[in-house]
């Protein structure tokens, strides 16, 4: 890889329940600057743990994690989290704060002036394609799932991070919304020059959005690479994961005529 990786895991391990549950087992993984990496795996594969180790929501037991060249153990975890955007599964919005309050939270924690935050909130609403006036002062429960997730993305971007961590950001959405949001984010990622690690259990989504895909199973990193690199993998589990999108593609092209209303 030409440039230094922005996030690097080296032989990282993490267990829970006094060693009884191994969540992450000797994982080494580099994420290059500007890359959109998807981590794919079933539930309990350790993908969420791996993500959270990067901003020290969870502390590693062994191995080394570096972010922007610094060992995360040497960085204050609070400051680390403020410079990394994090998008939670189903939003994780604060239910008592308005859309503007949610989006502006990290700048506020960083001591940005209210007027500046207000301008930034409007920019971000434009960025995630939400109309300023109707949405600014709404509470999260007044939004649809897709809108909530757009606010979640805006909140993560508020402090202009270079890195985004996303935990199944589009998992709970209906397929159409999911598709739209995925495309929009992909565009944002490119436009803002972000480095993104995104968790998903959906291989199709990973193939469509990500530059590279890392596959996890039982805490171990089974394979990593571009979709075409992965398709050459001999691993049975990887093959199985790729089979679903392949079959879907075949069936779809058989069922849907090339030209038509769609």
């Amino acid at each position: 890889m030409p440039t230094m990786p922005l996030i690097a895991y080296a032989h990282v391990g993490k267990t829970f329940d006094a060693g009884r549950v191994v969540a992450v087992d000797d994982v080494s993984l580099d994420v290059a600057e500007g890359e959109l990496l998807a981590i794919v795996g079933g539930s309990g594969s350790g993908k969420t743990t791996l993500l959270r180790l990067a901003n020290r929501l969870i502390e590693a037991d062994s191995g080394t994690i570096t972010v922007e060249g610094e060992d995360v153990r040497n960085v204050d975890p609070i400051l680390l989290r403020r410079r990394i955007g994090y998008v939670f599964q189903s939003g994780g919005l604060f239910p008592h704060l308005t859309v503007a309050g949610n989006i502006g939270i990290t700048p506020k924690l960083l001591g940005t002036r209210p007027a500046e935050i207000s301008v930034r909130v409007d920019e971000l609403l434009d960025l995630v394609r939400l109309d300023r006036t109707p949405y600014r002062d709404r509470l999260p429960h007044e939004l649809s799932g897709g809108q909530r997730q757009r606010v979640g993305v805006a909140r993560a971007l508020a402090a202009r991070p270079r890195i985004m961590l996303m935990d199944e950001p589009f998992g709970a959405l209906d397929p159409l919304t999911r598709d739209a949001l995925g495309d929009d984010f992909r565009e944002l990622h490119k436009k803002l020059g972000l480095t993104t690690v995104m968790i998903t259990h959906d291989m199709t989504e990973a193939i469509l959005l990500a530059d590279r895909i890392a596959i996890m199973c039982d805490g171990r990193l089974l394979a990593q690479g571009t979709p075409s690199e992965l398709s050459k993998s001999g691993d049975a589990y990887v093959g199985e994961l790729l089979r679903t999108p392949r079959r879907q593609t075949e069936r779809l092209s058989a069922l849907l005529p090339r030209e038509g209303a769609a």
Binding site: L57, F88, G92, P95, H96, L109
Partner: protein, 519 residues
């Protein structure tokens, strides 16, 4: 005639600024202190299961202690602390009234606040807490900007419960010397003035409801982020506090505080003394409904200025004397003992209010019982009733020892009710008071005490140390000395036990002075 035409409503209303003001003062202070302690404790304990269990357990135990007992316990505790602080640091404080009431009520207020705060904080969705961490909040920022706001409705429910409890329980702070709306209830109960009892209950209930609703308004405002409602509620609470406290601040400070114990005779005599002082151009106020032990300590500590006690009560209870001396000798010795504590025994009023065993005249005649000695052989088949203090007083021990008394059963009763109880045969004998007018009313007889187990109980006027050389006060009170004979006091007490306007302590005191003033 409407029941509201009763002039006692007017009298009750006249006391309202004082009683309500004091009630609000003690409740607000207790609640504020309770919150100040409980909220941080709950926040600290929320992630510590052991501490949480211990705290909630402790608060629950406090809650099971009856309010009156809790308040009563704080008085001796503070008295001991005050003595300790005086000997260690040379600073003393008053263990009477406000302080013990606030501390006990604050303790009482803690459970709902603790429980609801902990429950509310634990109820915050784990995903929200992760999000707070994830956006880079410190634990403190997470607590104040996310957890507390989200737990607020549950916490406010606890605070409201606790406010209602405190306001209700504050009525019980009267016996430890804190004026409150309980003054109506205690005085009304003792003098059978049901107008007062009702007035006190309704006033306390209205106050509790009002505060509850204002807190609800604040809660609603905070929850819906309506600054208007939150402000309105806060302004309401503030206005209530100011409105009830202002009259107390503006009112000229009264010079003398007269103590009164918990029975009708004491209410009448304290009212009489207020009238006498007023006549002499001195202002005075009463602190009524005080327990026997509280009142003496309060005098010794200069918390009240003077009150009427009974020689035998002090002799046996306060100074733990078991030897019985002739009346004058006992008085003289008592005077010397009191002088050592710088308390002045100004003189006797002229009557005795002794404990005596009392039974219906007819029954006594039938059984040929004239004295306690005659009673002793029949006591095994009889039951006895006494007031709340009697069976734990040394006089009772002395009586049993002197006559070998052993009753089939004993009961404690509200003094006003026990005369009716013995007259109707509900109990066989009661430990009554010789000055009580009800003895004549129910045709009861007091049994002789040939072995002198019960000491004499001259009504005596005691002055606090700081009033020892107060000539104006002595001059105002001296006309009372030696004037009131037992027959007149009995009649006064009988009048006070009535249930009409002429039976208010004030009215009876006036009647009493008309009878004895010119003597």
């Amino acid at each position: 005639m409407s029941i509201f035409a009763d002039p006692r409503w007017g009298e009750a209303l006249g006391h309202l600024p004082d009683y309500l003001g004091n009630h609000v003062r003690v409740s607000v202070a207790a609640l504020a202190l309770g919150l100040l302690v409980s909220l941080p404790l709950a926040i600290i304990a929320r992630h510590r299961p052991v501490m949480r269990g211990a705290l909630l357990g402790l608060a629950s135990i406090v809650q099971t202690v009856p309010g009156l007992a809790l308040l009563a316990l704080f008085y001796p505790l503070l008295l001991a602390l005050a003595a300790l602080s005086l000997s260690w640091f040379g600073v003393s404080f008053s263990a009477f009234g406000f302080l013990p009431a606030v501390l006990a009520l604050a303790l009482y207020s803690m459970l709902p606040v603790l429980r609801n705060t902990i429950t509310g904080l634990q109820g915050v969705d784990a995903a929200i807490l992760e999000a707070a961490q994830g956006v880079g909040m410190t634990p403190r920022q997470s607590l104040f900007t996310v957890e507390l706001p989200l737990a607020l409705p549950v916490m406010m429910a606890g605070i409201r419960t606790s406010a209602v409890w405190v306001i209700g329980t504050a009525t019980l702070s009267t016996p430890i010397g804190q004026t409150s709306l309980g003054n109506y209830i205690f005085a009304g109960l003792q003098t059978q003035n049901w107008v007062f009892v009702l007035f006190g209950c309704v006033a306390a209930a209205v106050l509790a409801l009002l505060v509850d609703q204002l807190l609800a308004l604040i809660e609603n405002g905070l929850r819906n982020r309506s600054r208007f409602r939150a402000t309105l509620g806060s302004v309401g609470i503030a206005a209530l506090v100011v409105a009830t406290l202002a009259p107390n601040l503006v009112r000229p400070q009264t010079n003398y505080i007269i103590g009164a114990k918990t029975f009708a005779e004491q209410y009448v005599l304290s009212a009489l003394m207020v009238q006498r002082l007023k006549e002499a151009g001195l202002s005075a106020t009463t602190r009524e409904g005080l327990g026997s032990n509280v009142i003496f300590e309060a005098l010794a500590a200069d918390d009240i200025d003077f009150y009427i006690d009974y020689s035998g009560t002090l002799w046996a209870n306060q100074f733990h004397r078991t030897d019985i001396k002739p009346r004058q000798e006992l008085l003289a010795e008592l005077k010397t003992i009191l002088a050592k504590q710088n308390i002045t025994l100004l003189g006797e009023l002229g009557f005795e209010n002794a404990y005596a065993l009392v039974m219906p005249r007819k029954r006594a005649d039938q059984l040929g019982i004239r004295t306690i000695a005659d009673l002793a052989s029949r006591a095994a088949n009889m039951s006895i009733a006494g007031d709340y203090e009697f069976f734990s007083r040394p006089e009772w021990t002395a009586l049993r020892r002197a006559y070998g008394l052993s009753f089939r059963g004993q009961r404690q009763m509200q003094p006003d009710f026990m005369y009716a109880a013995v007259a109707s045969g509900e109990v066989d004998v009661i430990a009554g008071y010789t000055s009580d007018g009800l003895i004549a009313k129910y045709d009861l007889v007091t049994l002789g005490d040939p072995r002198h187990a019960i000491p004499p109980y001259d009504a005596i006027l005691l002055l606090a140390p700081k009033r020892a050389n107060d000539e104006a006060l002595r001059k105002a009170l001296t006309p009372l000395l030696g004037k009131i004979d037992i027959a007149t006091m009995r009649e006064a007490n009988l009048r006070a036990s009535g249930n009409d306007a002429a039976s208010s302590p004030d009215a009876v005191a006036q009647w009493l002075w008309e009878k004895v003033g010119k003597r």
